[in-house]
Each structure stands twice: as structure tokens, then as C-alpha cells.
């Protein structure tokens, strides 16, 4: 079973990275931290404002975690599920079960999303080195912890995206609806603050809880919530996926 999941994950990654849009996201992940870093450096050199480099790194990280990576997840999920359904390539005559196909698609999206985060982190680190003339190890360590723990809320978004894609028979409809839902989840807490912690969007900057004074109880609670959310939508998505017919 594991061998087939690994083989198909490899296939799904191959399919995605051959897409221009996916290449664009990777270019964005490597270039954007450099541009933001140098823009911040220029502002500081003009003495207009003082920006701590750690804030710049976290600003970059936040913009990717809150906007760019969810967009990438929804795009990839729409492509691998609804898009393939539309093209008739979702199920093929291969010795692999539907559960293995589903898990490998989810794994491929998670791996590529995380790879982008690594690219962002490395690019931000190199930019910081270029601007500060030395690596600030404290900053590098903090952003590295952020990098490691960010997989948890991202996995929850991947599960949600996989579930959403099962409802549609074409990629664009799935993508538009997923973005709308994500926007709604991000916006609703402004009107109804009590709802905030029911949506995974509230946990996208979850990594910040790991820095400084760590509140263990809050970490356990949020981890339990994110794990439950992921399990629920992953299972519901699979249920819909396995009953599909070409």
C-alpha cells in the first residue's frame, strides 16, 4: 500500500510541477522575499522608518501563509480533483485503490505547499544575510520553528480544499468556490468575533504561538482543533471521492 501511495504521490507531483501556474508560484516564493527584503532595506536606509528584520521575515511568512499558499492549495486541489474529473483522467486502469489515489493527491499538494514555504524561508534568510551582512541566527531559528509548525494549519486547509473539490465537476468552479469560502471564513469573524476559533483561517499564524512565551494549554487546544478539522474533512472528502464514477 505504502509503495503505491509513494508512486502515485510522485506522479501527482510530476503532474503539478509541469503546470505553468505551479512554476509561477515557486518563482513567486523565491523572488517575493527578496523584493520585500530589499524594499524594507531601502525604507530603512532612507531613515523613514525603522523595521526590525525579524518583522520583515514574519511579514513575508505571514503573507504567504495567509494568502499565497492557501491560493496555491485551492488551485492544486481543484486541478487534481475537479480538473481531472472534467478531463476524465481521475480514475485510470492502474493497480491502485481509490483510497491510495486520494491520499497521494492530498500528500502531493501538502508536499508542494511545504516546499514553497521552505523556498520562502530560504529566500528570506538569504535576503536577510545580504542586507544585514551576517545571518542573525536568533531570527533564523525563530523563522525555522515557524516553518516547521506551519504545516499543521496548512494541512487543515489542504483537507478542506480536497473536500471542496469533490463537489465540482470542473476546476475553475472548484477554485472560485474554495477561494470564496476561504474569504468568508476570514471575514466572518470581523462581524461575529465569537466564530473566529471555529475556522482554520484563525490559525494560519499559529506559528506565532510557538515563539516567545509558549502557552501549552492553548497549543494543545488549537492542535486538537486543527487535527479534528483535518480528519473530519479528509474523511468526508474521501467518502465523496470513493463514490465517484467516470
Amino acid at each position: 500500500m505504502l509503495r503505491d501511495i509513494v508512486s502515485n504521490t510522485h506522479n501527482e507531483i510530476d503532474k503539478l510541477i509541469a503546470k505553468r501556474s505551479v512554476k509561477f508560484f515557486f518563482v513567486l516564493a523565491s523572488v517575493m522575499p527578496i523584493l520585500i527584503g530589499f524594499a524594507a532595506g531601502r525604507i530603512q536606509s532612507n531613515d523613514m522608518i525603522t523595521l526590525p528584520s525579524l518583522s520583515v521575515s514574519f511579514f513575508i511568512m505571514n503573507s504567504f501563509l495567509l494568502v499565497v499558499l492557501p491560493l496555491f492549495i485551492f488551485m492544486s486541489s481543484s486541478e487534481l480533483f475537479a480538473g481531472e474529473w472534467e478531463k476524465g483522467s481521475l480514475f485510470q486502469v492502474r493497480p491502485i485503490s481509490r483510497m491510495e489515489i486520494y491520499l497521494s493527491k492530498v500528500a502531493a499538494i501538502t508536499i508542494l505547499t511545504y516546499m514553497q514555504l521552505v523556498v520562502v524561508w530560504a529566500s528570506a534568510l538569504i535576503t536577510s544575510r545580504a542586507l544585514e551582512k551576517a545571518i542573525v541566527w536568533n531570527e533564523a531559528g525563530s523563522t525555522f520553528i515557524s516553518l516547521l509548525v506551519s504545516i499543521v494549519p496548512l494541512a487543515a486547509i489542504v483537507s478542506l480544499a480536497a473536500f471542496m473539490s469533490q463537489w465540482f465537476k470542473n476546476g475553475p468552479a472548484s477554485l472560485a468556490s474554495s477561494i470564496f469560502l476561504y474569504g468568508l471564513m476570514a471575514a466572518l469573524p470581523f462581524a461575529f468575533p465569537n466564530l473566529m476559533h471555529y475556522f482554520p483561517t484563525a490559525y494560519m499564524d499559529w506559528y506565532q504561538q510557538w515563539l516567545g512565551n509558549v502557552n501549552v494549554l492553548w497549543l494543545v487546544q488549537s492542535l486538537t482543533y486543527l487535527f479534528s478539522f483535518s480528519s473530519l474533512f479528509l474523511t468526508a472528502g474521501y467518502y465523496m471521492f470513493k463514490t465517484k464514477e467516470l
Binding site: N8, N11, K15, A18, F91, V93, P95, E245
Partner: protein, 242 residues
């Protein structure tokens, strides 16, 4: 003789009332079974149900004695298929498309990809994206994909569509050579003249029902499969052959 494919009471009805009804047939090792029928008769539905792409409402499918529903992976490991063009990713090259299939068959060497591309005459275009291929080239690639895992049963849906004369000759030669070596085929087509050249058995499928199975050897001189098919479509019972 070994039975490679056994279909029993296979049925599938869609919301619009169309589909296939209680299909029963079997194919012996090395036979080439041609499925003939008008558009919408249920040929592709039958093939999709046989390969597990559609879940049948009733019946079961045995591939070399293995129940498709109970042990899908073991059963399908012996099957190569090209049903529609859905199996081809047009943003990838022919080589990459086949590489993705090969990953499920770790016993096969990487050289198998070039072997099948050579066989279908696509070697010189192997690194071109499939989106740049003509319909005939996509058909050839689909055939290569079906042949790649060295299956014992090959299922091809309208494989002659879009093929040029050269492609048709290659296709015919591959089917003949492989069937002689014991590979079994299930091929659907509306080109009865083409099927007549390669098939050993014919099944006439009309409105989701397998009306009759004709053995090529029993067709009298002067009659073609097309004649029998037209008689059947016209409601005339083809005594002695069905």
C-alpha cells in the same frame, strides 16, 4: 482453454435510463473479442464497468479468476486499457506519461517505455508534449499505455479512431502478434470492417443488451460481420450464429 475475462450479469443503469443490462460473456486466452454496436449502445459503459471505473448495479467481473470488486488491485494488475483519451495528460510528454504508469509496475525496467514507443511508432516524438499530438498520435500513445505493463488482457475503446493507414497497420500487427503469444483482447469499435480483420469473436451490443456472440469461424462465406450486424439491427434473428 483458460478463461481470462468472465462477466456475469453485469448491469448499470444511469439516471437517464440508459446503461447496460445483465451482460454475460467470457473471453478465452488469446482470443480477440470485438464489441460492435451503435453510438450509445453501452460499449464504453461496459468497458468502464469491467475496469472498475464505474460501479455496476449488479453482477461481477472476474479477471483470470480474481473478482474485480473483492481484489481490485490484483485483478487490474493483469489489465491494460485505453478507454477514451482521459488517461493521457496532454501537458506532459509521451515519455513522462508512460513513466507515470511504469511506477506502478516496479518489476518492469525503464527501457520498457522506449520499447512500447518504438512499437507504436512514437519514438521520435517521445519528448514532445501530448498537446502537440494529432488525434492519431494520441491514440497510438493510448495504445502504448495499454501495452506498457505487459498485461494478459488488453481493453481498447475505439482504438482505430483517428489512426492513419500506417497507424492502422501497426495496430493490426500488434494485436495479431500479441494474441498469438496468448494476450487476450476486448476491443470496441463501430468500424466492423476493421474488427473483422483482427477479431476471433464478435459481440453485438444494442441498447445495453448483448444481443449475440458470433464466432468468426462460424460466419459463412459471402457474409460479413457487418451483414450480420445489420440483420440484427433490423430485428432479423441471425439463426445459427448467435
Amino acid at each position: 482453454m483458460e478463461t481470462v475475462l468472465e462477466v456475469s450479469d453485469l448491469g448499470k443503469t444511469f439516471k437517464n435510463g440508459r446503461g447496460i443490462k445483465k451482460i454475460n460473456f467470457s473471453i478465452e486466452k488469446g482470443n480477440v473479442f470485438g464489441l460492435i454496436g451503435p453510438n450509445g449502445a453501452g460499449k464504453t459503459t461496459l468497458m468502464k464497468a469491467i475496469t472498475g471505473q464505474l460501479k455496476p448495479d449488479s453482477g461481477n467481473v472476474l479477471v483470470l479468476g480474481t473478482d474485480l470488486e473483492k481484489d481490485y488491485k490484483s485483478a487490474i494488475r493483469n489489465v491494460g486499457a485505453n478507454i477514451g483519451s482521459g488517461g493521457i495528460y496532454t501537458h506532459l510528454s509521451a515519455w513522462k506519461n508512460l513513466k507515470m504508469i511504469l511506477r506502478f509496475y516496479p518489476d518492469l525496467p525503464i527501457s520498457r517505455i522506449d520499447e512500447v514507443l518504438q512499437l507504436v511508432g512514437l519514438s521520435q516524438y517521445k519528448h514532445d508534449k501530448a498537446s502537440a499530438y494529432s488525434m492519431g498520435m494520441v491514440q497510438r500513445l493510448g495504445l502504448a499505455a495499454a501495452l506498457l505493463p505487459k498485461p494478459r488482457l488488453i481493453i481498447l475503446d475505439e482504438p482505430a479512431n483517428g489512426l492513419d493507414i500506417d497507424g492502422m497497420l501497426i495496430f493490426r500487427s500488434i494485436v495479431q502478434q500479441l494474441s498469438e503469444s496468448g494476450v487476450t483482447f476486448l476491443i470496441s469499435s463501430h468500424l466492423t470492417s476493421e474488427l473483422e480483420k483482427i477479431c476471433t469473436h464478435f459481440g453485438i451490443l444494442i441498447e445495453g443488451e448483448l444481443q449475440c456472440i458470433i464466432e468468426k469461424e462460424l460466419i459463412p462465406a459471402g457474409k460479413s460481420v457487418e451483414d450480420l450486424y445489420i440483420e440484427r439491427i433490423g430485428g432479423v434473428h441471425v439463426a445459427g450464429y448467435c
